[in-house]
């Protein structure tokens, strides 16, 4: 069970969480939306798996490269 870290590609704030821990996700699914530069930037799953933890809550500030969720493949 490889642990996969999902990262935000941008500085911004968490706009909407779209999945909960335990959810099964597929490559290309969106975990959450980050508001940055007046846009809703998705955090997209690169490889399918199960969401282990969501590390941020709505409204939190996130930095570019920050791990925002953990998945297992």
């Amino acid at each position: 069970m490889a642990n996969i870290e999902a990262r935000s590609e941008v500085n911004g704030s968490v706009w909407k969480l779209l999945v909960e821990p335990g959810a099964a996700v597929e490559a290309g699914d969106t975990l959450m939306l980050i508001e940055s530069m007046k846009m809703e930037i998705p955090v997209i799953v690169e490889d399918g798996g199960r969401v282990v933890a969501i590390l941020v809550k709505e409204g939190d500030a996130v930095a570019e490269g920050q791990v925002v969720a953990e998945l297992e493949g």
Binding site: V10, N11, S36, M37, K38, M39, I41
Partner: protein, 520 residues
């Protein structure tokens, strides 16, 4: 009497050079997961095409006047073909003294040397396979004196950048001169995990700064490619690296006096992908997949991205349209809404110059809200680097086509226009433009009016709605301030027609491009 004894001696001497640094040294090199320079050249070039130059060069040992052995010079080079086209190719032989530079009457290559002269004189591309750490302080002992930096200088290396395509592949650990040589290229690539590049390696860093750092952490691809953009692309393996070099050269002319090679196009020019009609969400806050958009427009399978992991707010890629080579520059709304930051600006500047130098027309796929804003962006000199991108696009003379997909704002928007050329701006119906986005501009421009209103918030929204109605691209097209609005599905056939028509102009402009003035 024939010359057979000498012919036999040639064969015997060639065996010394084929043995490289000896079995033990070659085994150690293989053990580190790396190919030898001879294996690299064989893997990269067309089978049987390598014609070596300087095979007998090396340090010979004679006993009583009889040759016993030759330690070959730590550089292998010559003429070869890639996809049937000649190239000058060379690389350090790491198995001989770590590929360090070595005294000879004339250098074979690395910095200057025969291989660079060959590329210059014959006007053929140069491929450098870099695997060495440059000078060594031990040379002072041999010479009896120290030498000025640049004794083997970069004069020819620099001149080549205006003449022929130069590709540098970092295939081992490169420091000093060889690391610098990698940067003096039109395109560079390194191999993940088995190559590193830095101005100076861990021992020097330890001595200078007291920092202890492993060489992969200091100059692996995560630093050199992803974070710094020092090297353009990363390859998963040496085999992948050679495939990428062949791919890069397939878009390049042999020199600046020729045009890039056209290829037969299987993909119908009039292919109008329906998906283009809905790829841009109507909700302006929602981004979309610009790479997918590019694939729907360009000849199928023709895109090759330069610097995919650096300056990700802009996408730069070579591709083909109806078989003709095109440079695509597309903003990526997934990264800061496509705002141009310092890295994206640097990436765009380099790509525009690269296309201009080799007569490759540029297609801008524009969705840029402006320069990146904020304290970090200002500290990083986004304004200066962004204006450099504007300056370079004004200097370029290659034809450019501007397709506004969504946003085109401010000075970053200016950098996407061929203002000194046809200034041909083509818009999708989703396009919007201006000096700055309405949301940001209303509060500043109508401050007094808003403050004086009974309900300031409502007044601000009213003014925004009023201005937005005027922002329809159709109104701009009525005034011929944007030259055409197209159905997104027509993008491919429309662009192909103009790019085909520009080929004659490209042919007229062949030759070196003089660039005057001082870049900001």
């Amino acid at each position: 009497m024939s010359w057979e004894p000498e012919a036999n001696e040639i064969a015997a001497r060639r065996r010394f050079s084929e043995a490289l640094g000896g079995e033990e040294s070659v085994a150690r090199h293989h053990g580190a997961g790396r190919l030898t320079v001879r294996e690299r050249i064989a893997a990269l070039t067309d089978a049987g095409s390598f014609r070596e130059v300087g095979r007998l060069t090396g340090a010979a040992t004679y006993v009583d006047g009889v040759l016993r052995s030759v330690v070959p010079a730590p550089y292998v080079m010559g003429l070869a073909q890639i996809d049937g086209r000649p190239v000058a190719i060379g690389g350090e032989d790491f198995t001989v003294r770590g590929g360090t530079s070595w005294g000879s009457d004339r250098r074979k290559g690395g910095q200057g040397g025969f291989v660079e002269d060959l590329a210059h004189e014959y006007r053929i591309p140069l491929v450098n396979l870099i695997d060495g750490s440059g000078g060594s302080v031990s040379s002072a002992r041999r010479r009896g004196h120290t030498v000025f930096p640049g004794i083997h200088g970069f004069e020819q290396s620099a001149a080549l950048l205006g003449e022929v395509p130069v590709v540098c592949a970092v295939t081992g650990t490169a420091a000093g001169g060889p690391a610098g040589r990698a940067i003096l290229s039109h395109w560079s690539v390194m191999v993940k995990d088995t190559s590193q590049v830095f101005a100076a390696g861990p021992p020097v860093v330890q001595r200078s700064l007291g920092q202890t750092i492993a060489k992969e952490d200091l100059g692996g691809s995560a630093v050199a490619v992803d974070a710094a953009g020092t090297i353009d692309n990363v390859a998963a393996s040496e085999a992948d690296c050679f495939q990428m070099i062949r791919r890069f050269l397939s878009y390049m002319p042999q020199n600046v006096w020729e045009l890039p090679p056209s290829a037969p196009c299987e993909d119908p020019v009039d292919r109008c992908a329906d998906e283009l009609l809905s790829i841009v969400p109507r909700d302006r806050r929602k981004p979309y997949d610009m790479r997918r958009l590019m694939r729907l427009v360009a000849d199928q399978g023709s895109l090759f991205e330069i610097q995919p992991s650096f300056g990700k707010a802009v996408i730069t890629a070579f591709g083909r349209m109806n078989g003709k080579v095109v440079g695509f520059i597309a903003n990526n709304p997934m990264i800061y809404g496509g705002a141009m930051d310092v890295k994206a600006a640097r990436k765009q500047t380099h790509f525009v110059e690269l296309c201009d130098t080799f007569h490759i027309p540029i297609v801008f796929l524009v969705d840029v809200p402006g320069f990146m804003v904020g304290l970090q962006a200002e500290q990083a000199a986004t304004l200066r680097e962004g204006m450099r991108a504007v300056y370079v696009s004004l200097q370029a003379t290659v034809p450019m086509l501007t397709v506004v997909i969504r946003k085109c704002y401010g000075m970053a928007g200016m950098a996407t226009c061929d203002k000194n050329g046809l200034d041909f701006k083509i818009a999708w119906p989703s396009a919007e433009w201006g000096s700055l986005p309405i949301e940001g501009g209303v509060a500043a421009a109508y401050r007094r009016e808003i403050a004086a209103a009974p309900d300031p918030k409502a007044r601000e929204q009213e003014i925004e709605a009023e201005l937005r109605a005027l922002a329809s691209p159709f109104r701009t097209a009525e005034a011929f301030a944007v030259e055409e609005i197209i159905d997104p599905r027509e993008t491919r056939p429309y662009l192909c027609a103009f790019l085909d028509a520009a080929q004659g102009r490209l042919a007229i402009d062949r030759g070196p491009k003089a660039r005057y003035g001082v870049r900001p």
